[in-house]
Amino acid sequence: MIAFEQVRVRYGDVAVLDGISERAADAEWVALIGPNGAGKTTLLRAAARLVRHDGIITIGGVPTTRMSRRQLARLVAYVPQRPQLPPAMTVADYVMLGRNPHIGYLRTETAADRRVCSGLLERIGMASYAARALATLSGGEAQRVILARALAQEAPVLLLDEPTSALDLGRRADALELIDTLRRESALTVVSAVHDLTLAGQFADRLVLLDGGRIAAAGTPKEVLRADVLAARFGTGVQVMTTPDGDLAVISRRPGTAGAGGAPPGARPASAWPPGGPPADPGR
């Protein structure tokens, strides 16, 4: 659905993305992983045409540069890492912003637009919040409302930059679960930057490991979440384990203890793992 072909982005003399070629099929979830500064955010911003890029990014075969902003926004919904939430804006008004690409330039929303938004609020369990100001929402509630705004665009491609970075561990899994459910319902292509490698492996169909603006590895979670692959990018303190229910867990070790643990995959008792995986924060 969305394809990148030799995509390059330069900020002055610095190449932030250097020849990225990748694609995400219909209804596929591709997670971009990699250390800070790897180019994950820039790749998403290039796909949303918020940053100038060389190379070609196509959606359904059509280069994004040939589309108007409105056409692009009907095909791609982009959620930045820290969306701006006008404190006094109501939840209903905020979700309605997502309908903008479907509303004529100087027109106002129709009953159909309002139905889409109320349906989404109901779907994410926040129908009773319609009149609430954004400033009154908790982090988890705000995250769901932000997702609803993106879904209101009814775009087949969803670009999410660190959709869970503001949430606690339990909420992270909840939020990703919701994204997973919604993308299956509507056959959405999801490309997301995810910092948490364990969660990325649990939810994404495919992982793309970026480093220094290039693709260092790409494939299924099993192919990418390997200690030898990750160590080269994140440092040697990264350890990959298999949880009893078959998920891969990536944890970091304290420098002093590196190598001392050496527990073989799956060696820990099941009770040691809370649902959703261990508290992993891979070497940042």
Binding site: Y11, R52, R114, A135
Partner: protein
């Protein structure tokens, strides 16, 4: 409140609703109020939150509420009508309200047979009415342009003079006065100066500060505002130099700058009406898009808006209206800031409300300020800019100290 009848409008969802549909509408009011309370007191009592959720639970099955600036708009319209009536009724001639109404009626197409002295009719129709209409137009333009600038530059301190309109208009008027062109050219010169100043600001500002961002994402807002500061400083310096060289015209220039509507005429009204109509029409047509801009330029671009073009359109319209206003009224400060902010605090921050209500409110405010300017020192006239600042300042400080202000301006 921004939403008409939240709960009273199931909008075809077909769910059985409480027969107490009307009280439910009241509950919706209460829910917004509760949400407001919860918002105002993020650090306030924890009880506020559940109560808000509970009250707004009424709306669960309703379709999304529709944005209805109706009530605020109606209040502003009534205020404007009252201000206009006050404006034509008050003046040194001491006409009674009945005489004013009769004088007004004599020019209507199917007026009743009235015997109003010709001089009274002339006072009302040739002196007071053009003054009141001109004040209303200028007030509407300044307040509307202020609201639009605040939206497009996402800066609560933005006012209609942000991009150099005042400095350019002042320099244009000064040039015309100093050159001794006669009063007929002062207004066109002020208009041209204002327009040239903004064009200069925009060209210098939007060319600077372009980084790697893609076209259409905006991205030059700060540099445009800063260019406005530079252009204004430069033009003001030139104006000061001219004044120093021609000190005999100082008084004349100064009285233009301070603003004076006491010599308003129908020809002035006719002069600015087309600009005002175009500016108001364009700004009002973009009120929904100004709401989209509230999430920032980059997200607005990702929502399918060409931000640079939107910004240019709004700046052009606001400049047109402001330049026209400045050319006939001089520099009337403060209206463009206090009116939109007062509307925001009273009726919510959505531009669908803020823009039209600010225009009506600004018109009413300036008509009343003009009445005060004509009366407080009668038969002398106090500059209207002095009145707007003296009356508006304390009122605005009072509004700012409200609890809601802390949230809205956060």
């Amino acid at each position: 409140m921004r939403y008409g009848r939240l709960a009273g409008r199931p909008a075809g969802q077909g769910k059985a609703r409480d027969p107490a549909a009307d009280p439910a509408a009241g509950a919706a009011d209460a829910s917004t109020a509760a949400a407001d309370a919860a918002a105002a007191g993020a650090a306030g009592p924890p009880g506020a939150d559940p109560s808000a959720a509970g009250a707004s639970g009424v709306t669960t099955t309703a379709a999304l509420p529709r944005v209805r600036p109706g009530r605020a708009l109606a209040i502003a319209a009534v205020a404007l009508a009252a201000a206009l009536l006050t404006g034509v009724s008050v003046g040194p001639a001491g006409l009674s309200p009945q005489m004013v109404i009769e004088a007004l009626a004599t020019r209507l197409p199917w007026h009743p047979a009235l015997s109003v002295p010709g001089v009274d009719t002339a006072i009302v129709w040739q002196i007071r009415l053009p003054q009141v209409i001109l004040a209303a137009l200028v007030g509407a333009m300044l307040a509307g342009a202020g609201a639009a600038y605040q939206g497009v530059f996402r800066n609560p301190l933005a006012d209609p003079y942000l991009l150099g309109v005042a400095a350019g208009g002042g320099l244009g008027a000064t040039l015309a006065i100093v050159a001794g062109t006669g009063s007929g050219l002062v207004q066109p010169a002020a208009f041209a100066g204002a327009a040239v100043a903004v064009a200069l600001t925009y060209m210098l500002g939007s060319g600077a500060g372009r980084g790697g961002e893609s076209p259409g994402t905006g991205g030059a807002t700060a540099s445009i505002v800063l260019a406005g500061v530079a252009v204004a400083a430069m033009l003001t310096a030139i104006q000061t130099y001219l004044l120093q060289q021609h000190s005999q015209e100082l008084q004349q220039v100064y009285s233009w700058i301070l603003g004076d509507l006491s010599l308003a005429s129908w020809s002035q009204v006719a002069l600015i009406l087309p600009y005002a109509a175009v500016a108001a029409g364009v700004l009002l047509a973009h009120r929904r898009l100004l709401d989209v801009l509230r999430v920032g330029e980059e997200e607005t671009a990702s929502l399918g808006v060409d931000v640079a073009r939107l910004r240019l359109t709004i700046v052009l319209a606001a400049t047109l209206g402001t330049a026209a206003a400045v050319s006939v009224s001089g520099l009337i400060g403060f209206v463009g800031i206090i009116v939109p902010h007062t509307v925001r605090l009273a009726a919510g921050a959505s531009y669908r409300t803020v823009l039209p209500v600010s225009m009506l409110g600004g018109a009413a405010f300036l008509v009343l300020a003009n009445v005060a300017a004509q009366t407080v020192q009668a038969p002398g006239v106090v500059p209207i800019g002095v009145i707007t600042a003296i009356a508006g300042g304390p009122f605005f400080l009072f509004v700012l100290r409200s609890r809601r202000a802390r949230r809205e301006l956060a």
